[in-house]
């Protein structure tokens, strides 16, 4: 069987199955099994692309090349580990009486459908379908953010829906403008929104329309990436939703939205013949980085704080891709991988920690290392990794971004160093007493799943010390495609 079709069919079918069957004893296992199947199919697809180059599927409607297959593999992997983590996590939530059976069913079916929409968004060749899949990804997660039905979670979900709805509407306007520019060159057939056709004709697209279109696309998809000033939904949604949802939002959804911007940037660069798109991204990225760093120190809720840290890193990645060129793109891709793995590991550790202590307020979480050394160490190491301490992989990518900026955009370096320094002080100062110090936590009814935390951190550590040559080649090829 074609691994590509399997990869899309498994989450879709199992999502439907989990909806119909309801909450049974085997449902959590089916959720994990489906995620494992998706991951294996994605791995098969990756192997195929690495071996024999880009391919189409369903006519020309889907297109997989070395750029998006990299995101596909990452998405399927984090999807798998998050489903493993969420088994005991959600069981504990149910045992604490925070979730009922219908809500557990809603969670699992929406989780699978969310994976499906993200994989469609990543693999589609049609920029219109990309938009549809991004919107569908929002819709599947809105009800997950409000899963606890508390006033705060409803408020967060409402904000998420309205802000992302408005943002995504801007992106649709950008897509319409893009189509408007393209149909003058490619004709009125359905092909005018296919990325592969657009790329071959990008030099002929009207620069004025493309500039306007890119602004709308950047603001629109940028809302979902969490770029300031449209980032307000992100901390609320991360803090109030269940932790597995925070992990996939931070680790995956933000990446997919940024991927959409990158695809559009390639077209805009080809049409405009200047650094317009890159400069715009650098500006937004730097502003986001700085703003998030200063908001970090004000946070009291641990998930909210790490949500701001996600905004900060997304700003840094956007800045890296804005600089453009092989080195910066390579660093951006590497940083995206590192951030996804590290941030989801942190959310896993934080999820178990908050369950043990029964609160998300950092002032009340103390002495994790005595309660459960594994959770304590997981959180501490994850935090050190995300703050860019060597020898973790985040250090490598941040170092590359900084040195490249020093060489080509020296003015930005002090701003970046300031933001990274402030973020370091804020996060480390708050996590340190959470891990050490005195405690009064109790046992959990279901043993937490710690393995995913350390699998992720081990990968981040390995990539910090040694990047296998095939991975380097792969990153380089993807970076070259971004121009």
């Amino acid at each position: 069987m074609d691994p590509f079709i399997l990869m899309l069919a498994i989450p879709l079918v199992s999502g439907a199955l989990l909806t119909v069957a309801g909450e049974r004893a085997w449902a959590p296992n089916l959720n994990i099994l489906a995620s494992l199947g998706t991951f294996l199919a994605a791995a098969g697809l990756t192997a195929e692309i690495v071996a024999s180059g880009p391919r189409f599927a369903f006519g020309e409607q889907f297109f997989i090349d070395s750029l998006n297959v990299f995101f596909v593999a990452l998405t399927a992997f984090v999807g798998l580990t998050t489903s493993i983590f969420s088994g005991p996590y959600m069981a504990n939530e149910a045992a604490h009486g925070r979730l009922t059976k219908p809500r557990l069913r809603l969670y699992k079916s929406m989780y699978q459908l969310f994976m499906f929409t993200m994989l469609v968004a990543l693999t589609t060749n049609n920029l219109g379908i990309l938009w549809v899949a991004m919107e569908a990804a929002t819709l599947t997660t809105v009800l997950l953010v409000s899963l606890y039905r508390t006033p705060a979670s409803l408020e967060a979900a409402w904000k998420y829906f309205i802000l992302c709805g408005v943002g995504i509407a801007q992106a649709l306007f950008g897509t319409i403008l893009l189509y408007f520019a393209a149909e003058r060159i490619l004709g009125e057939s359905g092909n005018a929104l296919l990325w592969t056709h657009l790329v071959s004709a990008k030099a002929f697209l009207d620069p004025n329309i493309m500039a306007l279109s890119f602004i709308f696309l950047l603001v629109g998809y940028g809302t979902k990436v969490g770029l300031a000033p449209l980032h307000n939904w992100l901390p609320d949604a991360h803090a109030e939703g269940p932790t597995p949802v925070s992990a996939v939002l931070s680790g995956l959804l933000l990446n997919v939205a940024l991927y959409a911007i990158l695809r559009c940037k390639v077209l805009a660069d080809g049409a405009i013949h200047s650094d317009f798109a890159g400069n715009l991204m650098m500006g937004f990225g730097l502003f986001t980085l700085l703003l998030a760093a200063f908001f970090l120190s004000k946070q009291k809720d641990v998930k909210r704080m790490f949500a701001y840290s996600s905004i900060e890193h997304m700003g840094l990645i956007t800045f890296a891709f804005g600089m453009g060129g092989a080195v910066a793109n390579f660093a951006g891709l590497l940083h995206m991988t590192m951030h996804s793995l590290t941030k989801s590991a942190i959310f896993f550790a934080v999820g178990h920690a908050t369950q043990k202590v029964g609160t998300q307020m950092m002032a009340d979480i103390r002495g994790l290392i005595r309660v459960n050394p594994l959770i304590g160490w997981g959180l501490l190491l994850g935090t050190l990794a995300i703050l860019g301490m060597p020898p973790f992989g985040v250090f490598a990518s941040e170092f590359m971004i900084l040195t490249h900026a020093m060489k080509h955009h020296a003015w930005a370096t002090p701003i970046m160093l300031l933001a990274l320094g402030v973020a370091f002080a804020a996060i480390f100062g708050k996590v340190q007493p959470m891990v050490f110090g005195e405690t009064k936590a109790k046992r959990l009814p279901h043993a937490p799943a710690i393995t995913p935390v350390f699998v992720h951190l081990a990968l981040v550590l390995m990539l910090g010390l040694y990047i296998p040559p095939y991975l380097t080649r792969w990153f380089e090829e993807a970076a070259r495609m971004l121009g």
Partner: protein
Amino acid sequence: MNATPLFAQLINLFAAVILLLSFSMLAQRRVIQLINLFALQGFTLFLSTLVVAVNTGQSHLYWSAGLTLALKAMLLPWILHRLVRQLQVKSEVEPLVNIPTTMLIGIVLVMISFNVALPISQLSSAIARGTLGIALAVVMLAFLMMITRRKAITQVVGFLSMENGLFLAATSATYGMPMVVELGIALDVLVGVIILGVFFFQIRDQFDSLDIHHMERLKDN
């Protein structure tokens, strides 16, 4: 693709009506009337799509027109009316900014939209000239409505009206997006409204009101 003057004028006429309806929605104080105005906007959108379809003879535009009529002029207003009845929403819309000021801001937004769209309109064929600016203005006015209104349901009408503006841009300026994209967009909008319906009940159960004023507790401090 040469449009006869009559067709071009009809499209401009309908686009102008849609813009006027956006303004009257901004000025409207009653929820029921607001939904009716939204339905009327959907119907006008159907007419303008139909005119483009007849003029260009593209079969998929007839489908779009039919979809618009069914979804935006009938199904969505019906769902919204049902929600208002079941949730017993009070009929007054409470604006955060008073209405004359909102209208003035609206006029400024329309001028900005026309200026932004001007260089692009000049590239367009005769049939679409000006409509892109109008479509952008409709999007901006809907955005304004979402910002200045307090009730959750008014924000949703604003959101859907924004969709109308986007659809106007898609049909009049580009003769419609590819069919598969339009179907996807329609599906997303429909699913979105259904989810919001579910969501309204949750909000009301928690807050005993659909006033989003209650939902301002999440802040950075």
